[in-house]
């Protein structure tokens, strides 16, 4: 029902309201006193609510980082859980200010939906999960298999490409939400479950017997995941983009949530620019001088958020791999603050 409401809202908005594109997102958020952030409907490690309704996770941290930069308060976020199908419509209709929901950056989404991807905060790839009892060790052994996937995702397209390229047959059963997909996989309706590898790790924890599942070694696609905003509001686009870059730069400069006070006293020029004690970079994008320190103090740098939610400090225990900093063998890289 929610999706119908959204579509009707989109139709009504674009039909009867002239010039509904506003370049005022930052002002709107300030006036409202809270950021509305689109997240998943429950993906351990990335965005899940606990039993008291507090959201945590890697994608949630990013929403909190933006709120911290604007309000100096990471709690001023309203989370809007969205299915893969509804997420872009929710953003187009201004129901949310930013989408932080492991969404893959593709050319079509960037150019034809009226949206902009602000950054890549997680370099992912698509993989397969199977039951160990199947005795399959490679995705190339999946010829003839039934595969469960979530509809409205890039994974649905990648799996078709992969099987076609390798001249293998398959049956795809596409469900509209992640939970329905997982339920069908758990009921053995399909032999394999496919989605981005990071989600496979997270979904595995939701299964009845996580130990009896294995994730196959093949990565069949590039999945650059990142936050998304509406096109046509460059200031807001900059705020979201630089919130992310600040988290990367902080990690690179060794500034963590515990060393914020030392950073404020630092004499190193690049740390001083990050801390706002030199220059006024924050004010240039409509924020305050200490915008980056607000983010780091309340949420932490990129590495802290990663380890706490999905890395070694979490149940998921995902290796950072490509998501290490460029200086440490990965490809996470941010333009300098200067």
């Amino acid at each position: 029902m929610k999706r119908v409401t959204l579509v009707v809202a989109l139709a009504a908005m674009s039909t009867f309201v002239a010039g509904s594109v506003t370049a005022q997102t930052l002002k709107t958020v300030r006036d409202r006193g809270a950021l509305t952030c689109g997240v998943s409907q429950g993906l351990p490690g990335f965005s899940t609510p606990d039993d008291r309704g507090n959201w945590t996770g890697f994608d949630v941290d990013f929403c909190r980082a933006i709120a911290a930069a604007i309000f100096n308060d990471p709690a001023k976020v309203k989370f809007s859980p969205l299915s893969a199908k509804d997420r872009f419509t929710a953003l187009q209709t201004s129901e949310i200010d930013v989408l932080s929901r492991n969404s893959t950056w593709t050319m079509l989404r960037d150019t034809q939906l009226g949206l902009n991807f602000a950054a890549v905060n997680y370099y992912d790839g698509q993989g397969f999960m199977v039951r160990k009892s199947l005795k399959v060790n490679s995705a190339l052994e999946l010829n003839g298999a039934s595969i469960c996937t979530q509809t409205g995702t890039t994974t649905e397209l990648n799996v078709a490409d992969y099987f076609r390229a390798n001249k293998m047959k398959y049956e795809v059963i596409a469900f509209s939400t992640a939970d329905e997909t997982l339920k069908a996989y758990d009921a053995a309706r399909c032999d394999a479950f496919t989605t981005d590898v990071s989600q496979l790790y997270a979904m595995r924890l939701k299964l009845a017997k996580p130990d009896e599942q294995m994730i196959l070694p093949e990565i069949i696609s590039k999945e650059p995941l990142g936050p998304v905003v509406r096109q046509g509001d460059d200031q807001w686009f900059d705020v979201v983009k630089w919130t992310f870059f600040a988290m990367i730069n902080a990690e690179e400069l060794g500034v963590t949530s515990k060393t914020v006070d030392e950073a404020l006293k630092s004499t190193k020029p690049d740390v001083r620019r990050l801390a706002g004690t030199e220059g006024n970079f924050g004010e240039q994008i409509g924020l305050t001088k200490d915008w980056a320190m607000r983010i780091i103090r309340h949420v932490g740098n990129y590495g802290e958020s990663f380890e706490r939610n999905i890395g070694s400090g979490s149940k998921l225990n995902i290796d950072r791999g490509l998501n290490k900093l460029w200086s440490k063998g990965g490809i996470q890289y941010a333009p300098p603050i200067r």
Partner: protein
């Protein structure tokens, strides 16, 4: 607009035009139509301009673009390289398949249960009553999920599937039955079968004609068996068996060969049939009860058995009351089939208004097309049922 010969006597020639009822009604209807058309025009132009301003792609060009995703039940040939337009047809056919089979089965279930509820046998009447109350009081989505997850989901995996004579296999991947494999000369056998069906129908007409003329029908059953079974079998043997039977074989993860009914299809169909059947049962019961008791008594007095009285006297009269609400149930069933999206059955709503919408992002066009199609399906069903109802109408003499 003055009308000669109808001028009002009180103020000849000077009446306000709006005081004339005929002019007034035309005037207001014109205003209404112009307003509606103008609003529609403004809506379309404005939507187009706003979508352009937001740089959201518009138009129907996407229908030619390759879809790139797979669908697991297609009644026509489909591959990932086919277009979104083809996806639309595939989805529409899947919707029609489940709706048409569902309508036929729900009607049978409804009539059987509805008549059973009026049975003088206490047990049968109460069982039918319990069925109706349970089925129509549980949400349909719940029933679909129940059949899908709690019943069909607990079937064994393909490697441990239940088999009947090594040719029918039941597993959590669906029911697989042998299929026909057509070789050279198969069309001759099919032609023979068609000939047999045609000839049987012709005999049936002849028999009806004879009964009208003389009161005694022809004895037909042996001729029918010969024409429908004997003739095709004889041709099959004469042409050296071009039509074979292909048995499903377990290869790797799944069965190869044979025809498979998806568990998603089965769950959706069972739920739609049992749910809608309960409503139809009540309609049938109401229809039958509306026929006055004297009609049945008169039928008995003529010496008709209970079954014949029901079939020849009561049901034809009840149908006049049954058909209009029955039409609504048919429409409901067709529209409810869009709940397929919850269990991954690839109907129109799931693959077109779902996947295609999401991959292309063209919400307005796709939702408009989907709405138009459901409307068209409903109007077609209504038209057919209205035509049938007109035929069943009381022939007043």
């Amino acid at each position: 607009m003055t009308e000669p010969g109808k001028a009002a006597p009180a103020a000849p020639g000077r009446a306000m035009p709006l005081a004339d009822p005929r002019f007034r009604s035309i005037f207001f209807q014109t205003v209404l139509i112009v307003t509606v058309l103008a609003a529609g025009y403004v809506a379309v132009i404005n939507a187009d301009a706003n979508l352009r301003a937001q740089r959201i792609a518009t138009g129907l060009g996407f229908l030619d673009h390759p879809a790139g995703f797979g669908i697991n039940q297609t009644l026509i040939a489909y591959s990932e390289a086919d277009s979104y337009g083809r996806v639309f047809v595939v989805g529409l056919l899947n919707t029609l398949l489940v709706s048409v089979i569902g309508i036929v089965l729900a009607t049978i279930v409804g009539f059987v249960v509805g008549i059973a509820r009026l049975s003088s046998n206490w047990l049968i009447a109460r069982a039918a009553g319990a069925y109706v109350e349970v089925m129509r009081n549980l949400p349909l989505l719940f029933q679909i999920l129940f059949w899908y997850l709690a019943v069909l989901g607990t079937l064994p995996s393909p490697r441990q599937s239940l088999s009947i004579a090594d040719s029918i296999f039941i597993s959590n991947r669906g029911i697989i039955v042998p299929s026909f494999a057509f070789g050279d000369g198969a069309e001759i056998v099919l032609a023979a079968l068609m000939l047999g069906i045609g000839a049987t129908a012709a005999l049936g007409m002849l028999s009806r004609h004879r009964r009208r003329a003389t009161g005694r029908p022809l004895t037909l059953w042996w001729a029918a068996v010969l024409l429908l079974v004997g003739l095709p079998l004889a041709v099959l043997a004469a042409t050296d068996f071009p039509i074979g039977i292909e048995r499903p074989v377990l290869r790797g993860f799944n069965f190869v060969g044979g025809v498979r009914m998806l568990p998603e299809f089965a769950a959706l169909l069972i739920a739609l049939v049992t749910y809608t059947g309960a409503f139809i049962a009540e309609i049938v019961r109401a229809g039958i009860l509306s026929v006055h008791r004297s009609q049945t008594e008169a039928a008995y007095a003529l010496g008709l058995t209970r079954g014949l009285a029901l079939r020849l006297i009561v049901v034809p009269q009840a149908l006049r009351l049954i058909v209009p609400p029955l039409t609504s149930q048919y429409l409901n069933l067709t529209k409810n089939s869009s709940l397929a999206v919850a269990i991954g059955y690839p109907d129109l709503f799931a693959v077109f208004a779902g996947t295609t919408l999401n991959q292309t992002g063209q919400a307005i066009e796709i939702i408009a097309i989907t709405m138009a199609i459901y409307l068209l399906l409903s109007l077609t069903t209504s038209a057919l049922m209205n035509w049938y109802n007109a035929r069943m109408r009381l022939a007043e003499r």
